[in-house]
């Protein structure tokens, strides 16, 4: 352990430290808790919060109109039965993956550098899953009957169809949401107690007190906490892989050319982590700048995230290439046509834009100069988010719009309500996220403390 920690903390030439030197337990705790408790809420919080709140209202309008009129307000049609809603669902679910990967897999792998980014990454997961989870319900023709997808005991003695990937989705996503929430919440208990102890406002003290669930920092608490978080990490780890695998089954199990492919599960998981890390960077870069957290979220973190992105970008690139190759190699008319239609059909710009965003542009990350330049990183991350959204759009819409019988081919275009719902969901995500950074410690106080030299002394 000590060897590892030394490696983390020692300032090596050309390699930024995980935590900037000079911090003690007290300074770390002060710095993080003051964002919530002491500092005046800054203007740079209010402005984006107001914008996202406006978008939430837009979302509510779009959803209300949707419930009143029906899914016909969207651009979907026969043959394109799924459009932006499902694209958004897959995109949001994918974004969520980075948080779980950071908190669970990296925990198990003893990657302690993760300690300063795991809290908000987990929050991001939670909010992304919340946004994602809404779309499958909204896209139902009769959304008030969504509970029919759950196997609940009923007088009709009807159960959902366990052969349908959509039912698997229900389990995958709801399990994922539950475990992610528990992991996030359990991981926050010691910090909530810190806030309780430091809060001067009675209301805040009561609120944090309730949320802290009686945490006193006793050794027995810590012992139980460690066990619980390891167990939850163990539970969450397979979920990182399984959730997007199941989501990919929505497509891979169907016989639509362009969907029916065995490469989908790993390809989707890689894509999910890819977009998730992009979102982590999109959130982390402005946060550390605005709240002056350069010393806690260092270039080392950004560099590591960029490396993960680069790795997943290569997996995704491999998948794109192999998708095309297998389609050609299969000799199947429909498969070949589906890929050819992506590349040269009426939606060719979306395909080539996606190739540029996901495959070409991120290759810059090979170069250290770009990996360590926050502006470049931010731009590349946004580019990846766009690319990953396009990827799902291409898979869903472009595959459906021309399948087997040419007589049924058609073209898809989103309506203003598709756009409103999507933009509204982004608003909802940031709305929740800004509430989170205002009300809860966005960086794990006690976990960052373990990275400090003082922690070494204790031992």
């Amino acid at each position: 352990m000590s060897q590892e920690r030394r490696e983390l903390l020692e300032v090596q030439p050309g390699r930024p430290p995980v935590i900037a030197p000079g911090h003690t337990f007290g300074t770390v705790t002060d710095k993080i808790s003051s964002i919530v408790l002491n500092r005046k809420t800054p203007l740079y919080w209010f402005i984006p919060f107001a914008i996202s709140l406006t978008l939430v209202l837009l979302f509510l309008v779009a959803v209300t109109y949707l419930f009143v009129r029906g899914v016909g307000i969207w651009g979907i049609k026969i043959p394109i039965g799924w459009g932006w809603a499902i694209t958004n669902f897959v995109w949001w679910i994918g974004i969520g993956h980075a948080g779980t990967l950071i908190s669970a897999i990296l925990l198990l792998l003893h990657q302690s550098w993760r300690n300063s980014i795991n809290r908000f990454a987990e929050a991001m997961t939670l909010f992304a899953v919340a946004c994602a989870g809404m779309f499958p319900l909204l896209h139902l023709g009769r959304p008030w009957l969504f509970y029919w997808l759950f196997p609940y005991p009923n007088t009709m003695r009807i159960q959902p169809n366990f052969r349908s990937p959509l039912v698997w989705d229900v389990f995958a996503v709801s399990t994922y949401a539950t475990v992610s929430f528990l992991f996030w919440f359990v991981g926050m208990l010691p910090d909530l107690a810190t806030l309780r102890d430091r809060a001067r406002n009675r209301f805040a003290r009561a609120a944090y007190g309730i949320l802290a669930m009686g945490w006193r920092g006793a050794a027995s608490h810590w012992q139980k906490y460690e066990t619980a978080s390891l167990l939850l990490a163990g539970l969450a780890t397979p979920l990182v892989i399984s959730v997007h695998t199941v989501v990919s089954f929505d497509f891979a199990v169907a016989i639509v050319p362009g969907w029916h492919s065995t490469i989908f599960p790993p390809y989707f998981v890689a894509g999910a982590i890819y977009s998730g890390f992009a979102m982590v960077l999109v959130l982390a870069i402005p946060l550390r700048a605005l709240y002056g957290l350069h010393d806690l979220i260092t270039m080392r973190h950004l560099d590591n995230c960029a490396k993960v992105m680069l790795a997943t970008a290569e997996i995704v690139a491999y998948s794109y290439i192999f998708e095309a190759f297998i389609a050609w190699y299969s000799g199947n008319t429909f498969e070949m046509f589906a890929i050819w239609n992506r590349m040269t059909g009426p939606y060719w710009p979306t395909y080539w834009l996606l190739i540029f965003c996901n495959l070409v542009a991120p290759q810059l990350l090979w170069v250290k100069k770009y990996r360590t330049n926050v502006i470049w990183l931010f731009v590349i991350s946004l580019d990846v988010l766009v690319g990953m959204w396009l990827e799902r759009y291409v898979i869903i819409v472009v595959s459906l719009h021309r399948d087997f019988l040419p007589s049924s081919w058609g073209m898809y275009a989103p309506t203003i309500w598709d756009v409103a719902t999507y933009v509204g969901s982004i608003g909802l995500f940031f709305f929740l996220f800004f509430l989170f950074i205002r009300l809860l410690p966005m960086i794990s106080i006690f976990e960052v403390r373990t990275l400090l030299p003082e922690a070494e002394v204790e031992k």
Binding site: G70, G81, G141, R142, R163, S164, L166, V253, I255, L400
Partner: protein, 995 residues
Amino acid sequence: MSESYQYLDLAAIRARLDQSRGREYWRTLEELADSKAFEELLEREFPRQAAVWDNDPAGRRQFLKLMGASMALAGLSACTRQPTEAIMPYVRQPEQVIPGKPLYFATAVPETAVAMGVLVESHLGRPTKVEGNPDHPASLGATDAIAQASVLELYDPDRSQTLSYLGDIRPWSAFLGAVRESLAPQTAKNGAGLRFLTGATTSPTLADQFQTVLKKFPAAKWHRYEPAGRQAVLAGARMAFGQPVHTYYNIAKADVILALDSDFLCSGPASVRYASDFAARRRVRGNQTAMNRLYAIESSPTASGSKADHRLPVRVADVERFAAAIAVRVGVRGVDTSAGNPMLATGDTAKWINAAAKDLAQHRGSSAVIAGDYQSSAVHLLAHAINTALGNIGNTVIHTDPLDPNPVDDFESLRELVADMDAGKVEMLVIVGGNPVYNAPADSGFRAALSKVKLRIHLGLYANETSELCQWHVPEAHFLETWSDARAYDGTVTIMQPLILPLYFGRSVHELLAAFTDTPVPSSYDIVKDYWNRQHPGEAFEDWWRKAVHDGFVPNTALPPRQVVFRGATAATRPPVSGQGLDIIFRPDPHIHDGRYSNNGWLQELPKPLTKLTWDNAALINPATAQHLELQNEDLVELEYRGRKVQAPIWILPGHSNESVTLHLGYGRTSAGRVGNGAGFNAYLLRTSDAPWFGSGLNIRKLGSKYPLATTQHHHLMEGREIVISGKIEEYRSNPHFAKEKAVEPPALTIYPGYKYEGYAWGMAIDQTACVGCNACVTACQAENNIPVVGKDQVIMMREMHWLRIDTYYTGAMDNPETYYQPVPCMHCENAPCELVCPVQATNHSSEGLNDMVYNRCVGTRYCSNNCPYKVRRFNFFLYSDWTTPSLKLQRNPDVSVRSRGVMEKCSYCVQRINEAKIDAEKEDRRVRDGEIQTACQAVCPTQAIVFGDINDKAGRVAKMKAEELNYSLLAELNTRPRTTYLAALRNPNPEMEG
């Protein structure tokens, strides 16, 4: 404002303002004027009596008192005793009226007045569905799309519902009084100022009534104007035989058919019978490989041309020259060739003509040349000449007396009427059923002349453009609401009986006419029965009548064939010279005809053959013309023809003749109703009476804007996929397995044994050789299964709801492609991809192999539709079904759920019909017999292209059809194992013309 309103005295206001001190707020100038009128207005707007909270010191008490009283009164109203209205159960139930068991009544659908015998399904007194009458010669059990849609017309909430005078509601007695009052002066002058204007009619009763009227008013006149009538047929017959004979064809006997710009398979009153006979001669089964052969030359593509073994697009004016060339080649004497018929010169066309003529000549007596209804009379004359020369008269071509008791030229008749109106000779005009203000030729001046008539009466199903200009409008009884009679294409009479009392107190044409002769006016029933009683006097009449009404036709009333001698002077034909500009071709719309069915949503949304357009007409041109005029689909253009202009969108139609534009009539209505108003453009605005069907000199000017058109099929190429498998009859003779070789089912690689269908196993086979793309099945399905209409914007969004669609594919050159039709219902796959993916088990497989859809369980994920390779599933994106209009509720089939928003639906193989037959069979302890269940699409199909049944019954028709070598599964390689299979399409080209 009341009468005491005084104009504002602005000077006084100014003075008042000047006097006032401080700020004075004023709302209106009237208030400023402080006039009496304004105080009155205030009083009316805000009455003092209602002001309970004025400045009265006792106001609070007053207020509470009022509140209390209101509360008490509100409670009282709930205690009102309702008057007792006893309802009566059936003490003695009428025989056969059993809820849930429909009854069928025979009647006839009069389309352009010619009868098609039908049986109408009635649920507790509500007619819901039209089926063909198997014993009727024009139907043989099938109908066309228009007949299917007639039930919707009956229940159309936009039908005119009240008799009106200048827009005010009047009782029938007031109308009768007005008629009699106006007739009094007419009686004195023998009815010299009285005119009747009807459309075509074949009703013997009506003809008799007109005789009576004209006897009473000898100077009165009966005019006829049918905008899409068969004037040229009549004129051609007059030229050929010196008398107006009616011609029909015995297609069953014809081995070789030449269609001269004729859509005999899909339009016209005999088309259902022709299509049936035509397909019967093309049914290739096992060793039965004989097929008839159809040659078609066409100016505007039709279903008939698309089924032809050889089709040639020819400019509309050249059809006559073409017919003359054929006449020369088959040896008609006296055809003028001096002008140098270019069709006879060398070249591809000449080769085509020579081969076709040779083929015709080889089939003397068993060939038929059919001239199009909308061709020139000269073409008809030539066709008669050719048929005579080929000895077809009496064999395949039959002449009889005209069906119409008043065989006059429509345009001539209208011209006379307008001249009389202009001259002030017409004092009373009775317009029966038509809409001449909308559809009279543009040069007729009918609209202007109409206002010169003193008394104008209009009888019609709808209050339309014409009734707006008439003082009296009488709502007409729908043919399903009244008694009448009509003749079929061969003259067979049907006595039409009502299925329901008139919904809106409509009157039949018979009652209207009787108002001119009889007091009191007898009922339609009495009028029709009385007429037939006079034809069949004696005691046996009652039995005769009952049988005739029951059977739906009167046996042996077909008009006897007449021996006519051809004495036409074919030399007199002078093909018109093409002028400058493009050719213009007018055609009645394939579905809404001359505009009379404009307000029928089923027909508006029915994709038109070939173009697949809905809700609009368009200027149809061929790809080559579009290319050199630089036009694309949906380009809005201005059409200028003989100084008149109209704007229309362009639609490019492969196979259309060169340098020509087809315009369909019947659109651009302004008073059709909520459905028909505003759809399409009005082609009548360009149509003149001297050239009602075609002419030249059309100019097109591109306007630079787009007009969105709603089509249901955007892509007509098969992309090299084996979708419609087709071949020539020689191919089949040499290799009967050719279809199976192309559609290979993968071996069933599974460790699980397949499900054994022990009882029934329902399946369908569709013969693509037989399908003529007439769309009757689509409408029948819509009527049977309560399928909603979605509207043009939703069709543009590709959300049409038809459970059955006719896919149309082209192969070959764009300018003259081969066309194939593929009716696509649900395939009811044994390995159904939709069932696997539904998360809530809303779509399941039945033990009889049906792919069932459980609407109640569906939550609307649309995953099933995504995964359906045939894309036959339809989704209720909005609440498409009309749940509120009362009259439309009556139309619905009570055996089929009306679907709600957010629910997937699709073809069920008419599961309600299956279950009905199974219940009947179970009661009799037997299996369902072959042919006992007919799906709606199967029952209506004129060519019997669709066969449904139990594939476990090896002797049954469907099992036999599936055993044919031509049988294949669509997308067989997907291993969906569809229960609906197809028979490859065969053609019988002339070997001489190949290569």
